[in-house]
């Protein structure tokens, strides 16, 4: 009788590399997720934690076994980020997130009456 555990999908977790830049109106976060398929890239914001997970399927050459490389990284967001306005774009293995800042945190000109 074959041991079903032997063929269970193995998961290997990797922390992906990121670049974070700040401009006056938003933060731009770029995450390297080589091999991940768009449908398996998940970006969630819960309270002020940003979570990025993605699955990259891997087929072993030796026996054709399917396993998954999972990318996973979390960040704590500061108050100046508007969690309702996050843009996400995934292309060529790179996830680019634009985290817009809340309007009150952008510098404003105050008119004098």
């Amino acid at each position: 009788m074959t041991n079903t555990l032997e063929r269970a999908n193995a998961v290997h977790t990797i922390v992906p590399a990121v670049s974070i830049a700040e401009s006056p109106a938003a933060y731009t976060v770029a995450v390297d997720l080589p091999g991940a398929v768009k449908e398996k890239v998940a970006v969630t914001v819960e309270r002020n934690t940003l979570s990025i997970t993605a699955d990259a399927p891997v087929t072993a050459v030796t026996d054709g076994a399917e396993s998954v490389t999972q990318y996973r990284r979390e960040f704590t967001l500061a108050d100046d980020i508007d969690t309702e306005r996050v843009d996400a774009l995934y292309e060529n293995g790179v996830l680019t997130l634009t985290l817009n800042k809340r309007t009150q945190y952008r510098s404003k000109q105050i008119t004098i009456q």
Partner: protein, 162 residues
């Protein structure tokens, strides 16, 4: 004359990194490999976006029964900017990625990602069928399949016991 085991995945320019004693602790070792890779692959100045010229993409090479599979991580590259050539048993992967952001717009808080042009070469065993090499680039991952010639594939040879 001594015979040394031939390593088909030996690179032209880099030293071999096997650490046999730690093979049991697979995932921990892979993490360490990555840390050392990031350190040795780039320059000490590589974390500075202006000096990001000397980096090498991560490559995995696995030998199967019928082919060698080479996977290179090239996130952010466009297919048009990646080239693969095979000449005289040398496989060369070249790529170019220009800096994406305009540096003067704001503050860089963290920059772990590498970009810039690279070129990486590997010697390939003569048993590979050079004209049948297949290359696919999807989601920032380049997968090369180097099929082995018929004679090189392992065959079970029954030996008669007399």
């Amino acid at each position: 004359m001594t015979l040394t085991k031939w390593n088909p995945a030996r690179e032209i320019t880099r030293w071999d990194r096997g650490i046999p004693a730690f093979r049991g602790v697979q995932s921990l070792r892979q993490e360490f490999d990555r840390i050392f890779d990031d350190f040795f692959r780039g320059d000490i100045l590589a974390s500075d976006p202006l000096f990001n010229d000397n980096w090498m993409p991560a490559v995995d090479i696995v030998e199967g029964k019928e082919a060698y599979i080479l996977k290179a991580e090239l996130p952010g590259f466009e297919k048009e900017n990646v080239s693969v050539t095979f000449e005289n048993s040398v496989l060369t992967i070249r790529g170019e990625k220009k800096q994406e952001q305009k540096e003067n717009d704001g503050t860089v808080h963290r920059n772990e990602r590498r970009f810039g042009s690279f070129e990486r070469s590997f010697t390939v065993p003569g048993t590979v069928k050079g004209d049948a090499i297949d290359a696919q680039f999807r989601n920032g991952l380049l997968i090369l399949t180097l099929p082995k010639a018929e004679e090189a594939r392992p065959k079970a040879v029954p030996i008669q016991v007399r």
